[in-house]
Amino acid sequence: MELWELSAWEIAEKVKAKEISAQEVLEAHLSRISEVEPAVCAFLSVLEAEARIAASRVDAKIAKGEDPGILAGVPCALKDNLNMKGTSCTCGSKMLEGYISPYTATAVARISEQGGVITGKTNMDEFAMGSSTERSAYMVTRNPWDVDRVPGGSSGGSGAAVASGMSALALGSDTGGSIRQPAAFTGVVGIKPTYGRVSRYGLVAFASSLDQIGPLARSVRDAALLLEAIAGFDPADPTSAERPVVPWSKRLGRPVKGLRAGVPKEFFGFGVTEGVRSAFSNALSHLADMGVIIEETSLPSLAYALDVYYVIAPAEASSNLGRFDGVRYGLSKRGKGYLDMYRETRGEGFGPEVRRRIMLGTFALSADQYEAYYLRAAKIRTLIRRDFERAFETYDVLLSPTTPTVAFKIGEESGDPMTRYLADVMTVSVNLAGIPALSVPCGFAEPSGEGGSGRELPCGLQIMGKRFDEETVLTAGYVVEPFIREEMEEKSARMRRNLILAKECEPVD
């Protein structure tokens, strides 16, 4: 077995036991990156020098007999909207081309404190707005399972890096599904923690009341380990919660017999494909076999979740992106006067999807429309939150597919934004309610309309839990993994071999 194939917790154990060094682990991953990155295009920057320093520090700590932390020597990639001092942070946008961050995000600092080794910054849809990573201003990341397909988004680079073995762990950010959807598309585990569980300090804001940083990993245990490292109150983020951090990675494996799971029927009104539906049903029957009590339930307000999300998220984004004005950092264009400076800078720096959402949000917040849009959306958001609270009086977790479809082809996404936004239906309500949710691979399905092609792509099961009850969510996710373990191991081994043969990708024009 190659070192890059090891799980994160195995790496940490072996490094701590001095079986392998952090530097060996890093070199194995760096060579894996040089091997497959040309075909996957997951990284906007690889931080070789910084990573080597970090790895040697971990080894030095171990040599001195100091505790290197729970992520000892584990390579971790960062979505490129997370700040790390002295490195670039493009957010997938021309607006921040060449920008060097002057400070480090709390979550990133915590990874380093726990011995994790930051290896690079991953590609993303511009300012996290998108579901395919095609909306990066720099390049299109490919899905390692089929390089003609998207890895999902917006944390597509992180999903692809983990799935392809270029990184054991990665951080993403999730505003409406941006961790869970790429996790599902690339066959990895992704967690959107409870709002407030992880400090947002240093995450470039898309929609402040919805954003959360979370882990992507190849197993539930690895994801739990990374969550353990980054979670906890941070005085630099007043919305972070003063809740004790649970040693989740050590609490897995508890029985699920008697666990009550609800399946909201509202999620199935939106074109869930046959393949996804069948993978989901299989997972449910496995869970039922293990003693999980599964019932159909209803959260009526979910019917409005997409509408609410597409008012609140653009509204907050329109304000959050106001700071990109060409005055202090990033792209700066000159014009005749200062208004020209804004027009030129923002017109050139932002891509079409970002501009669209800024316009939507600006409209929703304008004095004449505020009540009809933002205020109404905020009220319905409260109803959605209450619906979840009510459901959690009966159920320990709620289940759904993570996405209605498997990964689609590059360039296949609808040009009509309304159709595109529909694909977020399974995930956005979780952010509106602020609850935790996990996407865990639960099977494989052929893309619809391609029956018989034999090409199967991963599907994700979404497990939603009560606020701050990541523990139950992880416990449930952990028991799903064995259902498809053999199939996953066999298929992913083949996928990773095939990647070396894939042709190189080209930068976006």
Partner: protein, 481 residues
């Protein structure tokens, strides 16, 4: 119709920088006058990914201001974003309180005419950076420099009801507001340093009309004098316009200090839609009743209370009490003099006359009262005991200030003790009589006034050390006997 046929209604919006050591949402220093862009960090520069963390001391000072202005503190308030584009606004929005202010329904009482000016709201917000245009304004300047040291400095905005009807009332309101906040220790409230900034709203209508005039906002007022002049100018301008049958447009006008006139400001492209919405990066601001009570209990004494004490207990005049409560340093200086045994009226006269006079001549602020209460009290004691004359005391005080020596030391060193030896004095008087036969004859002829000239000559010859009353008596005796 004459101008007297019109009346004006004035409302004031005052921004005051709070006396915190660090900024509203980061831990950068708020020090005024440091080199540009040295008290800055990623948070107050609005770098992507940063978040605000509220400064509890700013909240405390805001509550103290509110209580000092008789306002009701809202235990539940929150922050909102005010979105607009301007280069000195780092985040593209200002964090302020829009929906619910920190406090509301306060008042300030002015004395001429005696009336209450209501305060509608007091809210917390952050300051912007400071733009320095190489030209008149940002649209015509060749370039603009920005100092972000001010970005994020905590402010309170105090919005009055339109309860003032003359520039003089506005001036009194501002003076009282300034004084109250200074005594409360909320702000140093210096208009010249920008820690107090005033925007005026003025509307004009025919007297007795029940239709409200169109409010016009006037900005760029850098002193109380400017406020009075700008309001007077606007009143005349609007009256002239109304008389000419023109309508007043609702607009913001810029006070041109050099030309002493207002002119319309170029309207911003974004007009006035600030797209306010609740600040999602901050939880609601919830205060405990006990916190408000603690602020109330630790409130420094305010000028009205102190002035009442001066008039009622110490027997000062209303005017003296007002002057001594212009500034907390001044009134505490006076208090210490009284504590150390000075006669209150005498101390008040000397502080208001000689001490403030010296400070005016040397442009000293109240923070730098140049003499210690001990030395002033000692000087007054020397006068009372008859050791020196009041006239000599004036010079002694100046020397105390300039050398830092004790008054008794100066009096001794310079031989300034009052001449009380009659023999010594008599010799001088005889010399003066001999040298001035004309005036002496006048006195003999009953011209009482001539005695004053001779007293003066004696004082001159003794370098002021003679007791003038005594000289007067001795001269008369010598000449008329």
């Amino acid at each position: 119709m004459t101008e007297r046929a019109y009346e004006m209604t004035i409302g004031l919006e005052v921004h005051v920088e709070l006396l915190t050591r660090s900024k509203m949402f980061c831990r950068c220093s708020t020090r005024f006058g440091d080199p540009p862009n040295t008290n800055v960090c990623p948070v107050c520069l609005g770098f992507p990914g940063t978040l605000p963390t509220p400064n509890l001391e700013a909240v405390r000072l805001g509550v103290r201001a509110a209580l000092g202005l008789g306002a009701k503190v809202n235990l539940h308030s929150g922050f909102d974003r005010k979105n607009y584009f301007y280069p000195d606004l780092t985040k593209g929005y200002q964090i302020t309180q829009y929906r619910t202010p920190l406090a509301q329904d306060g008042f300030i009482e002015i004395s001429e005419p005696r009336k209450k000016i209501r305060i509608r709201r007091i809210h917390l917000e952050e300051d912007t950076g400071k733009s320095i245009h190489a030209g008149d304004d940002i649209t015509t300047a060749e370039y603009t420099l920005i100092d972000f040291n001010r970005s994020g400095v905590p402010l309170i905005e105090i919005v009055s009801e339109p309860d003032m009807n003359s520039p003089e009332e506005a001036r009194q309101y501002l003076e009282k507001l300034q004084r109250t906040l200074r005594f409360a220790g909320v702000s140093d409230v210096k208009m010249e340093e920008g820690s107090m900034r005033v925007d005026c709203n003025i509307s004009v209508r025919p007297k007795g009309s029940d239709i409200h005039g169109i409010p016009v906002e006037v900005k760029n007022l850098s002193s109380f004098r400017a406020v009075v002049k700008a309001l007077s100018y606007e009143f005349e301008r609007q009256v002239d316009a109304l008389k000419a049958g023109e309508s007043i447009s609702r607009e913001t006008r810029h006070w041109d200090e050099a030309r002493e006139r207002t002119h319309p400001m170029r309207t911003k492209e974004s007009s006035d839609d600030y797209r306010y919405f609740p600040e999602p990066d901050l939880p609601p601001l919830i205060l405990e009743e006990a916190f408000v009570e603690e602020v109330r209990d630790t409130m420094p004494r305010l000028p009205d209370e102190i002035a009442a004490h001066y008039t009622e207990k110490l027997g000062l005049t209303e005017y003296d009490a007002q002057v001594l409560t212009l500034d907390p340093n001044l009134s505490s200086f006076f208090d210490r003099c009284v504590e150390q045994g000075a006669d209150p009226k005498m101390a008040a006269n000397w502080i208001m006359g000689d001490v403030l006079g010296y400070m005016n001549r040397h442009s000293l602020t109240y923070e730098k009262i140049p003499v210690s209460p001990e030395n002033l009290v000692e000087t007054l004691g020397l006068i009372k005991s008859g050791a020196i004359s009041g006239k000599i005391a004036k010079d002694v005080l100046v020397k105390v200030i300039e050398t830092g020596k004790k008054p008794s030391v100066i009096v001794k060193e310079e031989g300034l003790t009052q001449m009380s030896d009659e023999g010594e004095l008599l010799a001088v008087i005889e010399e003066v009589i001999a040298a001035n036969p004309g005036p002496v004859q006048d006195v003999r002829n009953g011209k009482e006034k001539a005695i004053g000239f001779l007293v003066g000559q004696v004082m001159k010859a003794t370098r002021g050390r003679a007791n003038p009353a005594k000289v007067n008596i001795m001269l008369k005796e010598k000449i008329l006997s």
